[in-house]
Symmetry: C2
Subunit: 277 residues, 2 copies
Amino acid sequence: MNYNQLFEQIKRKQSFLCVGLDADITKIPQFLLDEEDPIFEFNKRIIDATAQYTVAYKPNTAFYEAQGVAGWHSLEKTINYINLIYEDIFVIADAKRGDIGNTSKMYAQAFFDHFDCDAVTVAPYMGSDSVLPFLEFKNKWVVLLALTSNQSSHDFQLQNIENTDNNLFETVLKKSKEWGDKENMMYVVGATKAEYLKQIRKIIPDNFLLVPGVGAQGGSLQEVAKYGINESCGLLVNSSRGIIYANTTADFDKEAALKAREMHLEMKEILKSNKLI
Amino acid sequence: MNYNQLFEQIKRKQSFLCVGLDADITKIPQFLLDEEDPIFEFNKRIIDATAQYTVAYKPNTAFYEAQGVAGWHSLEKTINYINLIYEDIFVIADAKRGDIGNTSKMYAQAFFDHFDCDAVTVAPYMGSDSVLPFLEFKNKWVVLLALTSNQSSHDFQLQNIENTDNNLFETVLKKSKEWGDKENMMYVVGATKAEYLKQIRKIIPDNFLLVPGVGAQGGSLQEVAKYGINESCGLLVNSSRGIIYANTTADFDKEAALKAREMHLEMKEILKSNKLI
């Protein structure tokens, strides 16, 4: 999917919601454990219930890997299901990968060729040659970690770099602009760090931002939109736990749909007030 | 495995060799493709041939993920095989993971509980709460990326941090000393960056270093040992392509054994001249 197609979907659905599929076997409704593949069944019902309000799904690989081969199988079925039934929805593998060049190439093959995801999250610590192999795939995206939503993101990301006016995450933004463009690079910026969005938009006005941390982690959608929105929306705001674990009864999917709809309605107002729809 | 057990194994085998199991389906001997699980069969033969010269194996997850569920299955079988047949050998999942706390916990479960690896490589960009969940497992290890072997490691790792005498990787070393100790933290330092080992040893004199980049990437074992060795050896030097792809005929495992033996002999001399054996 390319930049314009993503923006078109946002306008059509009046939403820039990304639902995080962090399916944890200990947190899903217990009656699903009778299913042959409880994790896939959980995801399938969440997806069917929320797809109309959602422009992207973001399975985090950690939750699948914790179940070993079975988990990896659930992940594959989940991504295949989205691509088959909801082909216009953007799929982000939240994998935070990154390695030396020939190894990053294998990760790119895993997530773009094998799984056919649209995007993968990538950690910047190892520099350009750990990221470039992902950018060689047409209409596929790197979502580079910039300023993450967790508390200890300040440990390194907010350290100032000598002889520049930039801290580390700003240096990552500036340097990575040489590697790709708005058609193949997005950035992770935590909703809990909304106060930085103004300066981030000065460096990368056009790129999409993947914004986790609304909901369970305490970030505000209004704050994120105020400083982060651009002419093509430029935002994918993620909610995981707040939607998928809204309820653990047989009606969990209906409750998830209600939570996703709430976010869609708030996003619709934001898109309207910014004259994007 | 704990620090002393690892050192004891090094003395017993007169080796600090780690063999990287980067099994690429396009590079393994083609006659293995007739096997039910060519990747596992390849690994098994490499392991059986090299185990006597080797103190650690390091499968890089990228090569397995590129094959999807089948690859993950080969990885599981490979790790189980090492743990069953060569239980005193240290197993490092080279996964370069790292995420917010509750997610890193899932990765730790994946590699320590499910796969029963001894160690996992972790990227530091997200700070302490992305690393600490891995350190809660007794006798398990984080191998934190510090100064990597790839060319673009300088993009960020060598940036100087304002108002300190440290660059980013030194800041990572100093900060992470507060999170763990020599019993549960190792660091990745590329052999191609041996000139930094002197200053690295000033910051972390006791920790083990996992050193990739000898061989195909051009690093020198002698240089690494000269500046990196400590009283407990403190080094695991990795070779992947130089050993596992030394030959692609039916004798590939014998050739791998010869290459591993060459490194063992060179390491034996180094251990002797440092009076460690």
